[in-house]
């Protein structure tokens, strides 16, 4: 157990004991390689199962809106719970976004910030051992990761080589909003953030189209990307609306493209590039292909990062008279 984990379990026990929170959302061990489970701690005995390491891929903020939504059959005595949550940088930014979108109340939250050194991309690790399956993964000294495959082979890799790409360029590894912090702050990456977007944009148009279509055609419509995302809190998604029916429910390519374009667009000015959608996708679709582009444009055109301040409205909730008009068609 790491020092941070030790401290985390201790603090969660205290928070539950002193009544600061009714429940605490963190991560626990899972019996599958490179995975952790979302862990909702309601009693102090469950606090000992909390873990914190590079396998903690889920964006825990995704669980928040439902907790504060009044149940259909709730009586008058229903009160929103007081919720504690472990927040790495991206999770804290999602929390900021949710508060500003009036989806969760700030005063019912107790945010425990933690510095994050990035999470492992499970699909990347799977690719390294394909067509065998990953049997086991073990963290080694010196930021190395040992991958054991089901065919008996073993390889050690630099952790940095198997992290989610968003983590490699993350500017906010530490919580931007917290009631307390555990562990030491993690230094910020200074790698160029949108190199991937820029290199994709340089490819010829039909190549881009083919790549987009192929990527999205892998989709099986399980909506794991959507459900894993804190921004997707709509009670009815456009993908499931029936009047009008925006998209068919099948895996016909244009419907898949429409879903993913719609999803990406709905992320505009709200995506914190946590990579939870990428980790969640059973098909290993590079969902960041689209969200990163939107993120880049939002920053380039309108300035500022999303989810870093409670005071400033998000980019699409405001405008400037001088906003760019280069995209307009003039007769």
């Amino acid at each position: 157990m790491s020092e941070v984990e030790d401290r985390l379990r201790q603090r969660v026990t205290e928070l539950l004991d002193d009544g600061t929170v009714d429940l605490f959302i963190g991560y626990a061990e899972a019996d599958a390689p490179l995975k952790t489970a979302v862990h909702v701690v309601r009693s102090t005995t469950d606090a000992d199962a909390l873990v914190w390491d590079a396998r903690c891929a889920a964006n825990l903020a995704a669980l928040l809106p439902d907790l504060f939504r009044r149940p259909e059959n709730a009586g008058n005595e229903w009160a929103p719970p007081r919720v504690g949550i472990l927040a790495k940088g991206c999770v804290s930014r999602s929390i900021v976004g949710l508060i500003k979108a009036h989806q969760i109340p700030r005063d019912a939250l107790h945010v425990v910030g933690v510095g994050c050194r990035g999470v492992v991309d499970r699909h990347h690790a799977a690719r390294l051992v394909a067509p065998a399956q990953l049997a086991e993964a073990e963290f080694l000294e010196g930021d190395r990761l040992r991958l054991r495959a089901t065919d008996g082979t073993e390889r050690d890799v630099d952790l940095a080589d198997v992290l989610l790409e968003g983590c490699l360029v993350c500017r906010h590894p530490n919580a931007v909003l917290s009631d307390e912090s555990i562990g030491d702050p993690v230094p910020t990456s200074d790698r160029p953030r949108f190199a991937d977007v820029e290199s994709f944009a340089e490819r010829p148009i039909d190549e881009r189209w083919a790549a987009f279509r192929e990527e999205v055609s892998r989709c099986i419509r399980c909506y794991a990307c959507r459900e894993a995302c804190p921004n997707c809190y709509c009670t009815e998604c456009f993908a499931e609306e029936t009047a009008p029916r925006w998209i068919g429910v099948t895996t016909e390519p244009s419907d898949l493209m429409l879903f993913h374009l719609g999803r990406a667009f709905h992320q505009a000015g709200r995506c914190v590039d946590c990579g939870a959608c990428v980790s969640a996708c059973p098909q290993g679709i590079d969902l960041r292909l689209l969200t990163r582009k939107v993120n880049r444009d939002v920053e380039a055109l309108f300035g500022g990062e999303v989810g870093v301040s409670l005071d400033r409205p998000e980019p699409l909730q405001q405008f400037e008279m001088t906003d760019d008009e280069g995209f307009l068609t003039e007769p």
């Binding site: 394909a130 089901t150 419509r221 459900e227």
Partner: protein, 347 residues
């Protein structure tokens, strides 16, 4: 039944010949590890895979399938033609899942003609497991690394050779068609059994509650909200699952031309049971997860005589929240055991 030993060096030639007369579906490398695909180039087939990321159900129960096509009010059924397909190298758990899908789609009063057409034409060559995967638990749910249910031929990788054992008439026909290798020796069949037995020994033993009625009696227990605490309501588990078979039927058309199409659906999605009136009999993630688990382990045993889980462990791999069916089963089993010892009802 026929058992033949095929030199691995000859495998490609044999499969190439087969592919000339049959549609060959086999595991190929994929970014998720491995996936089933219709194979034109037999060199792409990878028998050194552990298991595919998604199950093989797509082959008999495609995610998207037109039932009817129509133009100007005239409809026509669209029964698939799938002459002589071979599913080569599927794992025994997935092969076994076909028997469960058979029970749903072919059992009861009405047969599903779309499923039947695909299934009737399919010969299944199952590749027995020499090594369990990290989340495998087939032996806990009535399967085994060399279970033959749903398969026509059992194949076993014996290092330099592939042992092929026909276990149905259809498998016999296929081996005859392959017309390759030499008759297998008893020692080789023995070796295959040993490999499977050793794989079984290395597999986790999950306590699985088998009393359908006792499981149903947990329906109102608080346990379920605890088990479902992390469930985010996606369909990753159900879509990866080889036995989940829920579907939707929708119409699509443009100017009078269109189709009635069926597509996978999932009981974990909130709108799945939503009535037109706005009422939803399963309004919470807890109710929906409970439905998924009880459907497999209580309702299906009641209706079909066995639990609809083959222990492939895919749902464990794919759940974004790390919900683990093995843990759920173990928790339920512990509760049921405690209750029966106390002699009290679970409710």
């Amino acid at each position: 039944m026929d058992a033949r030993m095929l030199d691995k060096a000859d495998l490609a030639t044999v499969l190439e010949r087969l592919a000339q007369t049959r549609r060959l579906i086999a595991p190929v490398e994929d970014r998720t590890g491995a996936a089933f695909a219709s194979v034109d180039e037999v060199a792409a087939i990878r028998l050194d895979y552990r298991n595919t990321s998604l199950s093989a159900k797509e082959i008999v129960f495609p995610q998207t399938e037109p039932l009817l096509v129509f133009r100007d009010g005239a409809a026509e059924e669209r029964i698939p033609a799938a002459p002589g397909a071979v599913l080569f190298g599927v794992r025994p758990c997935d092969a076994r899942s076909l028997t469960m899908l058979d029970a749903v789609f072919r059992g009861g009063e009405t047969e599903d003609p779309y499923y039947a057409a695909r299934r009737d034409e399919l010969t299944v060559v199952a590749l027995t497991c020499n090594e369990p995967g990290p989340t495998c638990f087939c032996t806990s749910v009535g399967g085994s690394p060399d279970d033959g249910s749903g398969a026509d031929v059992l194949a076993t990788d014996l290092d330099d050779g592939l042992l092929l054992r026909a276990i149905t008439d259809r498998g016999e026909v296929l081996l005859g068609e392959l017309d390759a290798g030499r008759p297998a020796e008893d020692g080789e069949i023995e070796a295959a059994r040993d490999l499977a037995a050793r794989a079984a020994e290395r597999m986790e033993n999950v306590p699985v509650p088998t009393d359908a009625a006792a499981l149903l009696a947990t329906f109102d227990s608080d346990l379920w909200s605890d088990l479902a605490a992390g469930c985010i309501g996606c369909g990753a588990c159900t879509y990866a699952c080889p036995t989940c078979h829920c579907f939707d039927i929708t119409d699509e058309q443009k100017r009078g031309t269109g189709h009635r199409v069926r597509s996978w659906d999932a009981c974990t999605f909130p709108p799945f049971t939503l009535h037109g009136s706005g009422h939803n009999p399963r309004p919470t993630a807890t109710a929906r997860l409970r439905q998924r688990v009880l459907h497999k382990f209580s309702y299906c045993p009641e209706n079909f005589g066995e639990a609809f889980c083959v222990g492939c462990g895919r749902c464990v791999v794919h759940c974004p929240s790390g919900i683990d069916i093995r843990r759920i089963l173990a928790r339920l089993d512990a509760v049921l055991t405690a209750n029966s010892e106390a002699g009290g009802p679970t409710r």
